[in-house]
Amino acid sequence: MSAISIKNLTKVFPIPLRRERIVAVRNLSLDVEPGQVYGLLGPNGSGKSTTMKIVLGLVSPSAGSTHIFGRDSREVESREEVGFLPENPYFYKFLTGVETLHFYGKICGLHGAKLRDRAAELLNLVGLESAADRRLGGYSKGMLQRIGLAQALIQQPRLLVLDEPTAGVDPAGSREIRDLILDFKKRGITVLLCSHLLSQVQEICDRIGILHKGVLVREGQLNDLISIENQTELILEGATPEVLAQIHALLDQSGAHVLAERRPQTTLEKFFLEVTSPKN
């Protein structure tokens, strides 16, 4: 059974007082298998958020259907298995971190010592134990995203839906969130991720779908989609000029062409984290 199953989904928004209609999603079909990290990509206005909202039952489809672990998304019961972190969430600023988790736990049917233990465990997981008794009004952007992840996990869902989880977060915070998502993956939690940070999507997603103007234009395993069939990349360490000359000679004999030869570079993210790390 798929974690998410979307079949022939179409969503049309009528424009009030006008005859025009906006087709946000057009005949979309895709499946997210259990344990996968699925990246739903696309430019602004491509229909990603609408698709997420339909999956979560916040918006109703004009045609087609969506199911979560076999349950229709329009049924409230389907949300037993889902945790959701919206883009730029604010939550209730008047609550402290621990009160926030208690509130979301209570509406998921948790209570008493079990709820307290679960909240403490999640605060520890997202690294917010020291800020547990501070009101969310005083939280930084990164801390808000992390408490958002904790509330999404409160009822131990099998599926996490994350809309731009690293939007507006600094590189260190962004990496922490990426590591948390990789940790969820290890625990077998399915993740549906919407993000504009393509480098991050590339690092953590198993499979991606690209939406453009409401239409799924590409879909498949990430490695299959981005690998170039007829090219091979060799990265050597400690190769002397003589060894390189021998390789070049061998390549010339075989008829293969060297398209580029350069020193590998680190990423800007790694470089930034290195120079801003507390050790320096």
């Binding site: 409230v76 959701f84 883009e87 969430p89 209570k106 049917g109 839906v161």
Partner: protein, 298 residues
């Protein structure tokens, strides 16, 4: 991460509703909305300054008028202003997404929000009643002391008679149904405002419409008497008035407290009928809120 599984989903969970209601109450409490109670207390203390030149019956009458009138206005303002910000703010901050993405039916969310407001109004009404009773008691003690001072040369029976008169003019049990009716009217206004907020685009719009309906509700009785009393009124105005009377509650019906302060007794039947009408309107507005909110695209 060995953690507990949540309870199996149930169609209606009082625990979920209570969690949302208490969270709503906590939100309003931390927004310091109870500060208006201080204004209420200051108003009662301030009004005492104007009472010295009146006789004691007029003093008690004035204090009851000011107190119960203020209670009525404050609870109405609180019900409209506090309710109007709840749902639009949850939508604007996307907090609503995180709540409804959990296994929470939309009707439970609405009931929880309304229950939170009703608790806030209940606490406010009780606190204002206590302040009112204390102010009335303080005024009574002052008047009793004045009566004793002015009773030189009177017989003990005359003095006792004067003191009894003062006491009888202070507290009457009929004040209680009057205060309950103030609460019921505020609850009805909260439910009406909640309904408007389910389709309104902002808190300001919600407040404006709610205030307009409040005045229509107060004036419709007068309009009805005028138009229906005239033999020349056509069918169209009659249908219009009937529609207005059906959709908007006649808020004048809930002003029993005016009669009570004026010294008229209210029959138990009238009180029960008016309370039931208020409860019915509150329920109907909640029900219509659900129908609008259930199909709302978030």
């Amino acid at each position: 991460m060995d953690s507990p599984s949540p309870a199996k989903h149930v169609f209606f969970s009082p625990a979920r509703v209570w969690a949302i209601a208490t969270n709503t109450l906590l939100e309003l409490f931390r927004l310091k909305v109870f500060y208006f109670l201080l204004i209420f207390a200051l108003l009662l203390i301030g009004s005492s300054a104007f009472m010295i030149e009146f006789n004691f019956q007029e003093q008690f009458q004035l204090l009851k008028d000011v107190s119960l009138g203020s209670m009525s206005i404050f609870t109405w303002l609180l019900s409209v202003l506090a309710t109007a910000m709840l749902i639009p703010k949850d939508i604007e901050d996307r907090t609503l997404y995180t709540i409804l993405a959990k296994p929470v039916p939309r009707f439970e969310y609405l009931i929880g929000k309304l229950l939170g407001i009703l608790l806030l109004l209940l606490i406010s009404t009780i606190v204002m009643s206590v302040i009112f009773v204390l102010a009335l008691y303080g005024r009574q003690q002052y008047v009793l002391a004045e009566t004793m001072r002015g009773s030189v040369g009177m017989t003990p029976d005359q003095i006792q008679e004067n003191l009894r008169e003062v006491r009888n003019a202070t507290f009457t049990w009929s004040l209680i149904p009057g205060i309950i009716m103030i609460y019921i009217k505020a609850a009805l206004c909260a439910s009406l405002t909640l309904f408007i907020s389910t389709f309104a685009s902002s808190s300001i719009f919600t407040i404006m419409v709610s205030v307009a309906i409040y005045f229509i509700g107060h004036l419709q009785g007068i309009a009805r008497d005028y138009w229906l009393g005239s033999a020349t009124t056509g069918a169209l105005p009659r249908v219009f008035l009937a529609l207005v009377a059906l959709i908007f509650p006649d808020f004048q019906l809930f002003n029993l407290v005016d009669d009570i302060v004026a010294g008229n007794s209210i029959s138990l039947i009238l009180f029960a009928k008016t309370a039931a009408l208020g409860g019915l309107y509150t329920f109907i507005y909640l029900l219509v809120s659900y129908f609008v909110f259930a199909s709302k695209e978030l």
